[in-house]
Symmetry: C2
Subunit: 158 residues, 2 copies
Amino acid sequence: MTDAEIIAEPGVPQVIISREFAATPAVLFRAYTEPDLLARWIGPRGYETTVDVLEPRDGGRWRYTHTVPDGDRYSFFGLYHGDPTPRQIVQTYEFDRQPGHVYLNTITFEARGSRALMRQNTVFQSVEDRDVYVLGGMEKGIHVSMAKLDELVTSLQQ
Amino acid sequence: MTDAEIIAEPGVPQVIISREFAATPAVLFRAYTEPDLLARWIGPRGYETTVDVLEPRDGGRWRYTHTVPDGDRYSFFGLYHGDPTPRQIVQTYEFDRQPGHVYLNTITFEARGSRALMRQNTVFQSVEDRDVYVLGGMEKGIHVSMAKLDELVTSLQQ
């Protein structure tokens, strides 16, 4: 298993995450755009995740909710700009605990032989918003989600 | 007339434009969200501008087209994330000559006595995209559009 690389430069309102998977872009695309598959990998272990809406088309909406073990809930939601494809997904992103703070997320999948490189490029309205995201446990969360995604796509690929 | 301030720092995928107008946030909001008003100020002088779609609501679409004097046309389009209000408009942005390159644009209007400060914060997927935007005549275009907007909102305010 390879670890995700996370780039968050000082003073730049951006985070770039990249990781290689033992799966094709088509399989990764399924894991990002099929509600039952997305619910299996997005977010921390031990949380219950429901995908409330997922409309992978230009102008479509998406929303998922995590329920933490004490019963508390929080949601992320947004819109797809352009039709998502196994090459590129572009989506807006908002966290319900930070209303009005919006990110733009671009996810690309690039074939590397029988594997694929996933790259997630997130840009924020400000460096402050980026720092809230990074300091809010993003790094641990990303590594956990990416490990769960790895397990899922490896099993789907077989 | 005050000039727009434009901030585009090296190595940062962002442009911030700010300018004060002799109009309230409500009047500025109308100029951004009513198709016939928007067509009167957006873009260079001497171009014909049509607002093809403008749905100022969460998930709504927008699109406008410039026709240059030689008959060539180009369009900008995107989606509204969240309901636009006289406080904040958040929209995705794409130029039809650069398909798949998307910006996130946040426009805020802040009352300053009988005037208002407009702030447009644009973040790009990369510094390269930001530089294409800046080098593509953005600065001149912004100053012209802002001068036209100033004339429009000053007349509406009276």
